[in-house]
């Protein structure tokens, strides 16, 4: 009887152990598979089309004859919208994080944090829709434009979408600063603001930079909202007040109409590779900053 129990236990142990191993390894397998598929499809474009013309070409005419797959306008579209949104989101985010983490009374802090994080729960299509009917007409009116479907509309919208990431990560970074620093500064006669500015922010800077990087990662990968409100004209942007088309919006908009196995189809995957590399680099940088913080 005893030995049966022992064997049974051993089988259970074995099965559970292997199942957990499988679950762990699967996530890696999936990532690798996705990456391999992306590479295979994307690189197929370069059998017919020069990589240089792809990377440095300034015209995106995928269905002309002959087609032109220059991603510069799309890349710039993404960069302009992203930079715009970061310029808006970072000061707001830093301010909000300082207020939530250092200034607000405890009861308000919890409410604020929950609210900011709730922003992340709103589906991006809903935000895009709200942006389309409220923000776009406003931008048109305020800046006296022919259309409100511009990069700046996308930037403002995306700034809101990056806020939850930025605020909650920055607040965590501030919270992680040992309170002995705060006491040290106050005991030296620093005011609350001097304490925050001269001690807390420098001490939290790594974590705050990581927050900005992850915010950028969130913004550059966003698709639905930007597709709805940035106008989607694949020209090279010269200002924030113009319609732009981002890389993500291009993939989303054209994937349906591209013939499977055509150069157009492959070119969309090639854009995917570029996006992947950019977000990968951003996440790596963020990880570097987070790592540096935990070591300091």
């Amino acid at each position: 009887m005893k030995s049966v129990r022992r064997i049974w236990n051993r089988i259970v142990e074995f099965v559970i152990e292997k199942a957990i191993f499988l679950a762990g390894i699967l996530s890696i397998v999936f990532v690798v598979l996705i990456f391999v598929f992306l590479l295979k499809e994307g690189l197929s474009l370069f059998k017919e089309y020069s990589p240089l013309a792809f990377l440095f070409g300034t015209k995106w005419y995928p269905i002309s004859h002959p087609p032109s797959f220059g991603i510069v306008p799309l890349l710039l579209g993404s960069v302009v919208v992203t930079l715009g949104s970061i310029v808006i989101a970072v000061p707001l985010g830093v301010g909000a994080a300082i207020y939530v983490g250092e200034v607000a009374p405890v009861w308000l802090r919890e409410i604020l944090k929950a609210t900011v994080e709730f922003l992340a729960a709103i589906p991006s299509i809903v935000l895009g829709f709200i942006g389309l009917v409220t923000l776009v007409p406003l931008v048109k009116q305020v800046f006296h434009l022919q259309t409100g479907l511009t990069a700046i509309s996308g930037s403002i919208m995306l700034a809101f979408m990056a806020m939850p990431t930025i605020v909650s990560m920055m607040e965590d970074a501030l919270r992680a600063v040992p309170s002995s620093y705060r006491y040290g500064a106050i005991a030296l006669g620093a005011t609350r603001w001097q304490t925050i500015w001269r001690v807390m922010l420098p001490a939290a800077s790594s974590g705050m930079l990581a927050a900005v990087m992850l915010g950028i990662g969130r913004v550059i990968g966003e698709t639905m909202a930007v597709m709805m409100i940035t106008g989607n004209a694949a020209g090279i942007p010269t200002s924030l007040m113009q319609p732009v088309r981002t890389m993500t919006a291009t993939i989303a908009a054209e994937m349906g109409e591209a013939v499977q196995g055509s150069d157009h189809y492959f070119s969309l995957f090639a854009i995917g590779i570029v996006l992947f590399i950019i977000t990968f680099a951003i996440n790596l940088t963020a990880a570097f900053f987070i790592n540096r913080r935990s070591k300091a």
Partner: protein
Amino acid sequence: MSPADSVDQPIIRVEDFDLFYGGFQALLKVNMSIRPRQVTAIIGPSGCGKSTLLRSINRMNDLAGEVTTRGQIIIDKQPIYGKGINMVDLRKRVGMVFQRPNPFPLSIFENVAFGPRLHLGLSKTALREVVEKSLTGVGLWEEMKDRLYAPALSLTGEEQQRLCIARLIAVSPEVLLMDEPCSALDPIATDHIEELIRELKSQYTIVIVTHNMAQAARVSDETAYFYLGELIEMGQTEKIFTRPQKRATEDYITGRFG
């Protein structure tokens, strides 16, 4: 001339001082006088209110949330409780050293320059002079002068604690409060810091809280013994440790409890 009959007027007077954390009374009608340019040690078992009293002298207790006080503490003729007290000014006059060395995660130079930058508005050269003088004052200048821009957190525990003291004396305070300044240090480092404390008392009034009675005996001129929030006995250190007046003090210092 012994410190007790010195003609110096007390620089700090604690008058009928009560302190409550919420409903809990941590200090009971404390009355004591602290003389200038001496080391006064506050001893007593854990929870006796010795750190609370120390933190009342620069009003760091205000940060603890629900704290109410009665009575008064007077530093150099100026009361520090009541309306219109300038905290910045108070904390500039009364510096504090913490249990664990807490240099800011900045360079050595920036740590020492921190206070002067807040309060003094010095030129660059004047600031450098203050930093040099302060580091010299704690015996760090010779070692540190070539690496002023190294991160302060790379220093040893003893060096960090010295740096924290340098950071205080850079703003020329009158009083230095030390809350178990050696409790995170090894015996040799403790010895060095005690030496520094004895040197500093020629210029500053020092109040030190310690759970280490031998340390109180070594560094202080006067000792105050606290128990359950009350000042039981205060006097010349030598007297407290050899001929205490109260039975409770004797029990504590001879190790019968505590």
